[in-house]
Amino acid sequence: EPEVTQTPSHQVTQMGQEVILRCVPISNHLYFYWYRQILGQKVEFLVSFYNNEISEKSEIFDDQFSVERPDGSNFTLKIRSTKLEDSAMYFCASSAGADTQYFGPGTRLTVL
């Protein structure tokens, strides 16, 4: 069964450093998303991406964040200058249309 994959599973970085989280969505899906979950809190929407552009973003997704689909299979989330409060699980998701989103296993980001 097709699934969303994410790398790395765990990323440790120093405050102020740039990180890139990578995702490979399900191959025939057209919509891509990033969510995050701070430990013990709700899953929160960050951004959605369709047709090579951002279609929606939340207040969390400020100028420090960017997304890219560099090729036909990868979808990335970049955080330019990490802060302590960026420590969280980051989940990539994809959907074929405007309905069910399938999530990846997540990347645990720890900012020291």
């Binding site: 998303y33 899953v43 929407f45 959605s48 279609s55 929606e56 405007a98 069910t100 399938y102």
Partner: protein, 112 residues
């Protein structure tokens, strides 16, 4: 304000003891309601999508129902492997929005 509220926060059941989890929402014109299962340190795993009041979906020991104000996830004769956090999410009706708004989840523990 909270648009998705799940109750109870935690539930402990004996194996075979059936129960229900609740998800209430305050939005009108819901586009879709989704149930996910999340194991510790993992990504949300899709269970059900419900679109209209009166709709029901079933999978093994789980059955999801939807009314105009809430959804229930019924668990019949649960087993220890059903232990997980169950997340409810809604898709809001605004424009082309596909983002999911999650509740805080119900942490289910099934004791052998």
């Amino acid at each position: 304000e909270d648009q998705v509220t799940q109750s109870p926060e935690a539930l402990r059941l004996q194996e075979g003891e059936s129960s229900s989890l609740n998800c209430s929402y305050t939005v009108s014109g819901l586009r879709g309601l989704f149930w996910y299962r999340q194991d510790p340190g993992k990504g949300p795993e899709f269970l059900f999508t419900l679109y209209s009041a009166g709709e029901e979906k079933e999978k093994e020991r789980l059955k999801a129902t939807l009314t105009k104000k809430e959804s229930f996830l019924h668990i019949t004769a649960p087993k220890p492997e059903d232990s997980a956090t169950y997340l409810c999410a809604v898709q809001l009706p605004s424009g082309s929005a596909r983002q999911l708004t999650f509740g805080s989840g119900t942490q289910l523990t099934v004791l052998p």
